[in-house]
């Protein structure tokens, strides 16, 4: 039994026919074909699927799509400026070598954005706490933390 839901996705109003059992991640990837949000585990432990819902970072693989009704969802595809310019966090990840294989990157950036939107000057511990739910096997996190630091308290978010 399909239902129609309405939510704001990357600042655009979207109406989508959904199966009530679907997760937000499934709808993003399989229905809307926004492939930037990744599934690394499917049970909320790796953070690769992190998106922002009403300002909070959320594992979209666990998030029931019906809960998205009326909410504002931001994915990695929604971060670039209309001009195509990268978001300062995206640019910082490029500049600081925070990207290797890249599979965790979208989720990592979304977690960092939620943090910086809420806390303009996070400490290093705040940053580590914030991304502790986003696993990365390539980087050892050091350059990711550096990248977030360069934006925290500095550039536009």
């Amino acid at each position: 039994m399909k239902r129609e839901i309405t939510f704001k996705l990357n600042n655009e109003e979207r109406k989508v026919e959904v199966d009530p059992g679907w997760t937000l991640l499934y709808v993003l990837r399989e229905v809307l074909e926004l492939m930037g949000t990744k599934e690394g585990c499917g049970y909320g432990e790796c953070g690769a699927c992190t998106v922002i819902i009403d300002g909070l970072s959320v594992n979209s693989c666990l998030y029931p799509i019906l809960e998205a009704e009326g909410r504002a969802v931001t994915t990695i595809e929604g971060l670039r400026a209309a001009s195509g310019e990268l978001h300062p966090l995206q640019q910082a990840f490029v500049n600081e070598g925070a990207v290797q294989c890249g599979f965790c990157t979208a989720g990592m950036i979304m977690s960092a954005k939620a943090l910086i939107d809420e806390n303009e000057k996070p400490t290093e511990d705040d940053i580590k706490d914030n991304i502790a739910g986003n696993l990365c096997r390539c980087t050892g996190y050091v350059q990711i933390i550096d990248a977030i630091k360069t934006v925290a308290g500095g550039g536009r978010t």
Binding site: T37, T105, V142
Partner: protein, 766 residues
């Protein structure tokens, strides 16, 4: 080389903009019209007879297009280096990851539902899970036709006379060390899409680290499946992590081919995280007996090691890791007499494969832990013992490695200085310092007949450059490093370089992203091709400018005369002049570089690599005596890298390797009970998170390796090799307990502290 414009610079990763915007296409993201979704049914038991396998109900489920079992595998096809692994197992299963049936369906959900409908009856058999038990006379055989659980592999290295050296040694220590099963934890799980065209040529969309070797594997498989002589094209998607996990081909890939043959549709497999944990091939556990000795001056006299490795139920590259272990065993520090024997043993566990370091971390854990024991016995500071025996340039090691550049002593000095070794060592106040060194191949590794890589470079009319390389990008940054090398030689901006590295139809042959070889081997290959094309361009430019080619140079895409700065010609003009003319030409060049390294001889001696990478890690820890918790206060990772082509990416390899090593040392372990993985998820398998990152310094020591591209050596694997023993040694310095089996959990530390307290009380009481 001070006037380098691109090499040696912090150049951002070429593929990073695509990855930070979510635009990179991983195998998870790829869809092909008409594609079906595959699923695999695995064995319920680690060892059992299959009495009945009924797929009827699964076949009848709407949306299921094919169900296959062992009966559908033609010609008894088996894969793997010992050809002991059928893609689908029939009659008998030997591990809980044994594939017994597979489906292809119109959706992943239907495929999963179909697997539930397959009916299997088993007769469970007693399994064998401990390699030491499996070696015993009369142990149940994992493969009866092999007659023994001990693989017929020749791992034995003898240099000098260990028995004589033992007698002459002033100090000797002996002990046993154990390491655990650990897995790669690539964030992108395994997957592929197999697609056949109307003539049965195969296109495999793949994550592989070894496109040319995988191509060969699939060609062999197609021949066995009745499709001899068909072409195989491998297209690599963006790869979500490698670390050695994709150095072999796996059952699911052959199953995808079989299902594609049966359904005439492309078939996609994507592993769930659970499958990624239990059905891919991890780093094997090891049991190592080691003895080392030194003379009264602390010069090492001999090293003797005996190792048992759990091979698991089938054979992949894990069984060949002793060949790489020989490297630290024979050549880490100057040791004249060496004896090493390793046995790989079949069990009903998962089967082992390559993982970053390829055996080196297991061997180095034993060597470097034992070395601290020897230092204590000889009454020497562990640093002093290491320094006296450190490797040096120009050395020929007992295994016949010709050491060219070697910065081990410089790395050691960095660690001692940055850690305040002398101030912090031996304080015994719950804080302590430890160090450990590494050697690894840094100039390719001749493990196959060829260690080569090809590059083709072509230029368009505007001065833009296409670099077609065999090298695989697995996130490590080979694409960027190759672009830097070519940009430097051609004198063009890095943004004008486009690297194509993911299609066997257009990319030249390469042996694979393994053995820390891409920067060195693919780099030298790119360097050779770039030099050829530069020469061609300068010859034409010289004609046009009325100059001698030797007086010309190229910077920022403009050819200019060194003698007369006024004389210049944009490259694009040179290119167009030579193209748009009667009998014109386009600039293209190819270069195949195969390093002048040697395969081992029958005694496992020979110069495996053109150069060797060295490094020393130092760590300060604090041990909580109440809880056994180990906290890393300071971590120094100093690496001799030859030359850093890109310091930022290089540091990324050190940080990433280092934290993987910390996970190996302190937390990660695959817990198997009777062959079944009990912690196959990120909740229970303790891969380090951002909160586990200690204060860490990556120290780059440059030694200018003459054979390397711009002086560079490999750095992909070394970062995790000495981590675990450095930490174990620091714990010993802090609280006087030595943990000899990884991982060093708080429980083990606490138990050791209690045992030590009891022993101390006993001593003082007596």
């Amino acid at each position: 080389m001070s006037d380098l414009t691109t090499v040696g610079k912090k150049i951002t990763k070429r593929d990073a903009p695509l990855k930070v915007t979510g635009g990179a296409t991983y195998i998870q993201d790829l869809k092909i019209p008409g594609m079906l979704y595959g699923g695999i049914l695995y064995s319920k038991y680690a060892h059992a007879k299959i009495l009945k396998l009924d797929t009827t109900r699964a076949e009848r489920l709407p949306g299921v297009m094919a169900v296959i079992t062992a009966a559908d595998v033609p010609n008894n096809f088996r894969f793997g280096i010992m050809k002991d692994n059928p893609p689908l197992k029939g009659g008998r299963v030997r591990s809980t990851r044994d594939e017994i049936a597979a489906v292809a369906a119109v959706s992943a959900e239907i495929a999963a539902a179909a697997l539930e409908l397959i009916e299997v009856e088993y007769e469970e058999l007693p399994g064998i899970f401990d390699p030491l038990e499996a070696m015993k006379e009369g142990a149940p055989l994992v493969h009866e036709e092999m007659k023994s659980n001990i693989l017929k592999m020749p791992w034995k290295l003898i240099c000098g006379d260990v028995e004589a050296a033992k007698k002459e040694s002033a100090y000797v220590v002996s002990d046993t060390f154990r390491t655990q099963w650990v897995t790669h934890c690539c964030l992108g799980t395994s997957g592929c899409i197999a697609a056949l065209d109307t003539s049965n040529n195969l296109t495999m969309y793949s994550n592989t680290q070894i496109p040319s070797l995988a191509q060969n594997d699939y060609i062999e498989a197609l021949a066995a499946f009745g499709l001899k002589g068909r072409r195989v094209r491998i297209i690599q998607c963006t790869i979500g992590g490698g670390f050695g996990s994709k150095l072999d081909t796996y059952a699911y890939e052959y199953i995808a081919i079989l299902l594609a043959m049966k359904t005439r549709k492309p078939v996609k497999f994507i592993f769930s995280r659970e499958e990624e944990f239990f059905a891919t091939s991890p780093r094997q556990c090891s049991i190592t007996k080691i003895s080392q000795g030194c003379d009264k001056d602390g010069r090492l006299t001999f090293r003797e090691m005996e190792m048992v490795l759990d091979n698991g139920a089938y054979t992949s590259w894990g069984a060949t890791t002793p060949s790489v272990m020989m490297m630290p065993i024979s050549s880490l520090y100057k040791v004249p007499n060496i004896k090493y024997v390793a046995q790989c043993v079949y069990t009903n566990n998962t089967y082992s494969q390559a993982m970053r370091g390829y055996g080196n971390p297991q061997a180095t854990f034993a060597i470097e832990s034992s070395l601290d024991q020897l230092a204590e016995k000889a009454g020497l500071d562990p640093y002093e013992l290491r320094f006296r025996n450190a490797n040096e340039p120009g050395e020929l090691t007992p295994q016949n490695f010709q050491v060219t550049s070697c910065g081990m002593k410089e790395c050691m000095a960095e660690v001692v200085k940055r850690l305040d070794w002398k101030g912090k060592k031996g304080n015994g106040n719950g804080r302590g310092v430890g160090m450990a060194s590494l050697i690894h191949v840094g100039g390719g590794a001749r493990v196959y007949k060829s260690d080569g890589c090809g590059t083709i470079i072509k230029m368009d009319d505007r001065g833009k450059v296409d670099v077609l390389t065999g090298a695989t990008e697995i996130g490590q940054g080979s694409e960027t490093v190759l672009a830097q090398i070519v940009a430097e030689v051609l004198g063009v901006p890095i943004d004008d370089i486009n690297v194509i590295n993911n299609d066997t139809d257009v990319c030249p042959w390469d042996v694979g992203a393994h053995a820390s070889r891409s920067t060195f081997v693919a780099g030298n290959s790119a360097l050779g091709a770039a030099r050829k094309i530069r020469e061609q361009m300068l010859a034409v430019a010289a004609q046009n400018m009325g100059e001698d080619p030797a007086s010309l140079d190229i910077k920022n895409g403009v050819v200019f005369s060194r003698n007369d700065k006024e004389k210049s010609l944009p490259l694009s003009k040179v290119l167009r002049k030579v193209h748009y003319t009667s009998g014109g030409k386009m600039f293209m060049a190819e270069h195949f570089y195969d390093p002048p390294n040697e395969n081992f001889d029958k005694e496992f001696k020979g110069n495996l690599s053109v150069s060797y990478a060295y490094g020393v890690h130092g760590v300060e820890v604090e041990v909580d005596r109440e809880t056994g918790q180990v906290k890393i206060l300071n971590y120094i990772a100093a690496h001799d890298v030859g030359k850093a082509i890109n310091p930022m990416l290089l540091e990324g390899q050190i940080y990433g390797g280092g934290l993987m090593g910390i996970g190996y040392a302190l937390g990660e372990t695959m817990i198997y009970e009777k062959g079944r993985l009990k912690n196959g998820n990120f909740l229970d398998y303790k891969m380090p998170t951002a909160k586990d990152v200690p204060p860490v310094q990556a120290v780059i020591v440059e030694t200018d390796e003459q054979a390397g591209p711009f002086g560079a050596k490999g750095i992909g694997e070394p970062g995790l090799v000495p981590t675990a023993p450095a930490i174990a040694n620091a714990i010993y310095d802090a609280v006087g307990v030595r943990i000899k089996d990884l991982p060093i959990t708080p429980e083990k530390v606490l138990r050791a502290l209690q045992e030590k307290a009891q022993a101390d009380t006993g001593r003082s009481g007596a």
